[in-house]
Point group: D3
Chain length 288, copies 6
């Protein structure tokens, strides 16, 4: 609180007031936020994100955080001298690699986010898919080469999350899960978030990325899309490259039962609050 | 929402953030707000007040509203041609008068406030001291003349309020109560609020008045006071006139178990929010 | 208890015993009692009615009281010099009138009934349709002229009643409700009672009127009727005049889910107890 | 219900009304009724007693029945040709005898009472001191001769009763218990009832006997007694014979925490109802 | 614990470990054990059985015991000089007989089993079909002669059992029930157990008999059977004599909703534990 | 289950029976198990340990696992080329080191134990002291040199553990915690376990070490010790070296409210089961 306070008391009160209808709209709903990659870049952004989560909780919303950690995993693999091979751009994950993945995701990043949220007055609880058998994974096999210990969600058991939600605890989830074979699998964080959001019947799944959302051919942000629009935009070449798997995960999440998915820029300050608690909105909202 | 939106999305988010530590401070606490007289003056102020209550509820606070209604009672007595006699400035309340008091407080004003809160997305429940035997009154007898059906709280039973609080319902209370003798008594709204706040172990009791708070001899607002300070300020003539019974009620409320009492200007826009959710504070805070 | 005690101890015990099978029949069920008009006439009748409600509660039944107040409203309008125009016998309710209606119903009559029930050892809680958003009204538009702020139930939300019932609290309800337009509407008390009874799945809705029930052509009481019988009796001119809207409201209540509706004479002493807790029954029972 | 109905509907309602203040007085309290000996004499009396229990339950009271069964035990011992020796009027209870005691009390009488209560619309649950380790007994050793398997309550564990009370179940208890030594003990039913009533914090313990209560020297019923009065009346020879152990058990029960103990005539029809639900009262009330 | 301890600590721990997958398999399920006849023969066997029940409870299983008592009933009838007539091998049960049946089952045997379980550290609660209206019986009428007070289950109300199960209480049930006619009926213990197991959705119903299970023509134990197999084995003369009604009761229980029924030898030490908590199994398992 | 089964069915059942009194003794109690160092050595031992935890849970006990991980941390520091300085045998923990500590403890070891427990049919939930603000640490300052981010428990908040215990979830805790200063601290696992066990009112805290327990001067195991004995044995040189801080932590845990602490050999197969569920016991039991 060392920064100068923004606005007169009057203005502050009025701006709080502007947030009220938005708070009421998301009251008692579950909002899953996928937070990762560049959006986790520096500590200031990370602390601001943590504060956003506490404010959501305090405003009657139940946030659930799912995080990735690609850059940190890569850095640790390098430090440890573990070389990765790639197939069609995907990292082949052998046992040594998946052990580093779990260690970095569930041990470093997860607890760091928990710590940041708690430091802002919240109460976070860091878990991975193994805890309470929350997510059971199966090996991804639809790839040309054997990707090793790369999994996808097969079953979600929300028992532990149900005990936690609605009691002022903010779950923070690392996308690591166990298979029926007893092996540890690395699960794509977007897919993991989609499966969790679906199983919880979330009202929104927010993908914090490093782009403003889905852009049209003139590079302008598209504010709202239906699933059918997406299929058309892929067909006509508007959606390309890395955005294709991202929107496909959005469709997957909608199929799992999420009401709406938003792709937005996680580096924009307080992007989550702007999306959920202001009239402006942020990014692209995708619904069925 | 027809007014132009205040601030850029960034500014809005930052101002929400500034409110967070205050929300956390009052999280799950009970705040009793005495709302009355001139502060209930016009509809715009009344609707703004209702919105404040909904925002508090949505921010994790449990507000309880106690209202007065002197001007409306006076107007109705006049319309009905009921003349009041006064003794040392207090209205002598005969049976016909107390019936009008109850009708106006519990029927008109109470339900109007309930309606305003509900219109803003809240869920209010309007009650008086009779409901669920919440407050039992006894006749005020320490006056020189017989004031009639003027009572003071003798017993408070919070059973009904306990069922209501913490379930997203906002109680709105009219200061009318029944005596052990089966008679209806008009209770001073400040005293009623103090008794309720004490019985509920409220963190704050806010008296919305038409002055900024307690002023010093130079007419500057005193920000904080202890009970002992008050006694001294009465003795040295700083606190005078109508402020004396007001601060005495503050002391009574503190004795009943309230943690802090604030006297503030109910006509200042969003005075409650400024007091509770900004760094500024409003009015005079009185503690033990 | 100043009256002489009725019966020898033996007789008293035997008469209590006679009530037992009836108590068991209504055990844990909800009984909505519409209480109004002439049945609310004098204080003695009103106190006896209050006692009946406490005895029901104590016998394992959950009573809910809905009251009217036409005569009192009329008297107050007269005192205030507010003139009413009528269209086909219905009062045209302008804004000034509806404010008086709410004030008298929710402020005077409601709290008086609450007070009487509490005085007999019960625990009543007085509410109107606005409280907790219990009833949302819509403007009645099927009339030839614009009746003003006359509404009918559009939605019933029993959340607040569900919290109250089964906890030894007796709800007392004033038939005033808010529209989606934010306006206050006066709702016909019979219709209000039917909507509440339907939403609560009441076992009985008792209409306390000033006639013994539905009479046949020889002016003898008809003990039981089916909905089809009623239609026939209207067609053949047996049911006429003010009884027609009354039985139509009965049919409406049965359609909302009430198991049985009884029209009985509210001025007969302890009519409710005679109907529910003795072998005799009172009035006309209407079922599907 | 084949008997002619007593009273006009009016009278019935008024007599119900007379019971209301008594129902309110005992609302939600526990009343332990010791029922035994001659009071269990014939089936008609037994069914009437069962009905009384159901009416109490239905009136908001929580009755607990403790029964004896001396005559039935004696008859069964005779049939089985088991001879009893007596010491100072007390039966010496060998192993064969205690097995018959348990069989008759817990198997015949207990289930007969359960059956009668259920036939009247109640829901009884028959238990003995062994069930759920409710009562642990210790051998009575303050007698001149070895009485065998005669025990007194050493510990009462109300866990099972707590689960049952307040859920419309009426516990019916046979005074048989297990010792820490694993043996079965016959416990005096009065003492058993006193221990249970004390552990449950009962408001009343009713001893249904075959006399009207404690009588004075002129054979008139004494309505109320304090413990000190009793001591004086024993000293001056007013209380004599079998009434002495009875009043000593009353004192024991009061020491265990019961609020009041009543000695009354169980053969008088509906004695329990007359005592609890009428203005008359029955028998002698003993308090601390 | 005076016997020498079996096995080294290591062996003990390993054998406990072997039980774990079985405990997990029956975790939180209901196992109804019909225990009777010769299996109740001597005290040592009975105490061992009690211990088995406590161990099941402690291992996460919810056991429910239903007991018979033919030999004890026969012995008591003889002692009391009550002669029984038989029709097609079934005892004609007149009123005197059914009274003895109830007394012995609910008073002697039931409380003895309760006592044994409690002595081993468990918490048993002994009930019969009358308690809490658990089982309503109807007269068996499909016999050539009038069998008197012999009944079969007509309705099962598990309310009382539901309150008891899962709270570390072990219900012990005597197969006596009341009819809608208010009469007491003796119910075949196997049928009673089948009805209770079905109503509770038990995972297993164990019939402890005095044979190892269903045998094939070479007198070898058949480990598993389907209902269709049974029909075939009866048709081809493999299953004969007293085993026929036994397997028919198994089929009845499966139809009521039990997942599996096991016929096993109750005299074999710890037969229940061997069946449920070891790899071996015991007796014949019958499923749909 | 591929190993040959140990014992005949009879022997298995009898050995289960021998465990029953021990299960009853620890029924519904909390047992904290500190598991670490060499006891975590190889996978077979680790899986056996996991199975022990599931068996405890299944036997009515509530186990809580606290783990260390010194060797694994050392190995990872070496791999990453992070050199540690030591002061009086304690590692000086700079920021880079504490990050590795957290990563290895909370990410690798914690989730590995969770996985093993789940693989055996249990339901584990892996947490560290940061989660739900369970443990707040403060910097250890009573050392001659600055040890860096080495902390000790300052406050324990069991809210999250209370939600988890008694619901068939096994908490597995990594001894990492946050300070009021927002820094991450490495806490000694023994101390962490003692603080948790004290806050939970554990019945036992088991320290799995690599020695059989406290030995006397002849190298024989001492079975039981009081706190005073320990002080004497340190004074007279019986307890020396690394055993001194170990027993001091035992005393600390007893002061926090633990009923008994056991030092035992974690490498002995099923040491926990032998200690808790057999007559033998293992190691040294220390009580106040």
């Amino acid at each position: 609180m060392t920064e100068p306070t923004k606005g007169t008391p009057q203005e502050q009160a009025e701006i709080l007031m502007q947030a009220l209808p938005h708070m009421l709209r998301y009251d008692d709903t579950i909002i899953v936020v996928k937070y990762g990659g560049h959006a986790m870049g520096n500590e200031e952004v990370a602390r601001r994100f943590a504060k956003d989560m506490v404010l959501l909780e305090q405003s009657g919303v139940n946030p659930v955080v799912v995080h990735g950690g690609g850059p940190q995993i890569g850095a640790m693999l390098t430090k440890l001298g573990i070389k990765s091979e790639f197939a069609s751009g995907l990292r082949i994950t052998d046992r040594a690699t998946v052990e580093v993945v779990e260690m970095v995701l569930a041990g470093s990043i997860n607890k760091q986010i928990v710590g940041f949220i708690n430091a802002e007055g919240g109460r976070a609880i860091g878990l991975c898919g193994k805890d309470g058998n929350m997510v059971q994974a199966r090996k991804v096999t639809d790839s040309d080469v054997d990707l090793g210990f790369v999994g996808e969600p097969e079953k979600v058991d929300t028992t532990v999350l149900d005990q936690v939600l609605g009691r002022e605890l903010i779950p923070v989830l690392a996308p690591v899960a166990m298979g029926a074979d007893g092996e540890t699998y690395n699960v794509n964080a977007d897919t993991f978030a989609g499966a969790i959001a679906g199983a919880l019947g979330a009202k929104r799944l927010l993908f914090l990325t490093d782009v403003p959302g889905v852009l049209d051919k003139d590079r302008n942000l598209i504010k709202e899309l239906k699933v059918d629009d997406i299929r058309r935009l892929i067909a006509d070449g508007t959606i390309t490259g890395g955005m294709i798997p991202k929107v496909e995960t959005c469709i997957y999440a909608l199929e799992q039962g999420v009401e709406g998915v938003v792709i937005l820029d996680g580096q924009a300050p307080h992007a989550v609050l702007v999306e959920l608690l202001t009239d402006h909105g942020a990014g692209t909202l995708i619904t069925r």
